[in-house]
Amino acid sequence: MSTETDGKFGEYGGQYVPEALMPAIEELEDAYERYVLENEDGFMDEFRRRLREFGGRPTSLQRVDRLSERYDREVYLKREDLVHGGAHKLNNALGQVLLAKYMGKERIIAETGAGQHGTATAMACAHLDLDCEVYMGHHDINRQRPNVFRMRINGAEVNPVTVGRGTLKEAISETLRDWATNVEDTHYVIGSVVGPHPFPAMVRDFQSVISEEAREQIRERAGRLPDSVLACAGGGSNTMGAFAEFTDDRDVSLVAVEAGGSSLDVDEDRGVAPNSASLSTGTEGVLHGARTRVLQDTDGQIMESHSVSAGLDYAGVGPELAHLVDAGRVTAVNVDDDDALEAFHRLSQTEGIIPALESAHALGYLEAVAGPDADEGDELGDLVVVNLSGRGDKDLETVIEETHERGIANAPDMDVFTGGLQ
């Protein structure tokens, strides 16, 4: 199912950017076509080799025994948490930084929310010897401190963004501004399948190694394709990565799990959505260079999104994913903060894997439809693959704090050790 023509996915996509950026974007389109699509100069071979050696691919596909029992079906995790840096983000960052190198760029800029894309980019830049500056909202700097240190230790500069609420949305805008100023020697490594064409297509292509591997692995292990594939969706890069090679397999359900935050309702007056569920509750709009589903008020002002998971806390979503949902190929669902936290603790305790809070949303959906308290007869089928997009080490502080505040039932008592953390 090829969904793309000319940088558009149905009505979505496009290139809504200041004129100053257009030459850079055209240059990037050209490079994308030559190096990525046509493997010129063996670009894709080098990319894949570095993903293996530096990035640690392939990642395993693990059957999780106790969850399989709990949900009375075969549950497999695609272990993107094992990628170097701790998330799928490196797949894309390494691809783009390498591409920038092929293009002769000298300087890399990136935005980051949770800090995962920033650390992935900082690592890729250190690995490939390019200068790196990362824009990060001041609010996110405070809630994702360890990732700030990792970026600095990898030699990147971290530029705090103090406008607005200081989260991902503001960081993207600021990075676009830097790019508009320094187009000639700089490449902007965007962190998800968002932004103007060719970013959504290119990031998907770099991430599709996830489903390429998973498709082969599940056939080997289970002898057939899965009934469904679940992935959390912020911007949607792990989502598109996990879905890409399955979109033509019409019998495989694809489920994108968004952050339901604390509620799906919206505070129009304050311009605040207490969720990040742009597929479930957003409307068509133009944000950060693309037409897509966005959280906006009736005037078209972009709303502040909210999620306990910094990596999902974004008011937009990738245009291709929005299109696939409109087209009925992908089902958009959502899981709220509390259920995500519960799923976080469940996987940690029953399987010995601490998931990223982002990924915990995908697991939370499984619990919601197939757990002991769910109604009979969900649609996920007998063989389910969940993309575990990252590990949760970065989320420890948040989880401890939020778990306490919300009184999450299945959490271990952390009182004894919280003293020194704050």
Binding site: G14, Q15, Y16, V17, P18, E19, A20, M22, P23, A24, E26, V163, G164, K169, S173, L176, R177, A180, T181, N182, V183, E184, G271, T283, E284, G285, V286, L287, H288, G289, V294, Q296, T298, D299, G300, Q301, I302
Partner: protein, 287 residues
Amino acid sequence: MTRANSRALAEAFADGPAFVPYLVAGDPDCESSKAYVEALVRGGADVVELGLPFSEPIAEGPTIQSAIARALESGMTPERFFEFVADLDVDVPLVCMTYYNLVYQYGREETGEPGPEPFVRRAAEVGIEGFVVPDLPAEEAGPLRDACDEYGLDLVFVVAPTTRGERLERIMEQVSGYVYVQARLGTTGARSDVSRATDESLDRLREYDVPKAVGFGISTGDHAERIVAGGADGVIVGSALIDVVADGVENDDPTAEVAARLEEKARELKAGTRRGATASGARSERT
């Protein structure tokens, strides 16, 4: 062939180079903002660009970002913007500068579908003569272009120092009213030098028969003079004026005082523009 839908706009440039100030509507509140716009017109503005604030102003530097934040904070919305414009007591053409999503969403509640037509219709109603939409590329401008033509408004495009060849052609096919010549790369913001990129851009645009207004970083009468002397048909000044507004906010100065300072600054810039025109006129006579 260059389009010009708005006669007022065409006239503003016909009579020698234009001074085009930019302010964000509703910064820091509607009443002051109205006083400031009127002060600029008293100071000599030939056209006024009025910013309708959007939550993600990706083309703006810190000065205008702050102005936008103040205006949003004071409650500015598209509907209030239109009322603000309707209320203005000025005799120069007004151009609305905003981002595409606001144009696209306006009126959706009634029509059920997003699209630029309701926005343009309403803008025409309150007397707006044209638009600048910095995140709308020529490739995506069709629907807005059509609506402008329908209601007789102009659609201004930005030409960057990096815009050449085919892209430039495509833009120049779409542009009407005037072309916004971006003086340097980057975002808006007052700088202290005049970029060489401007001269080169003006050179590239020489063959196109449309007014060329130069913006991005012009902050003094001397700048304005040099730019016009270099062949521009107008200068657009934003951040340098908003600095005056911001100072007023910071020091809690009375609106009248700030308005007086803006009027004075406008005079300086207008005077620079005029001096430039003389030089330019002298030069064209020599050649």
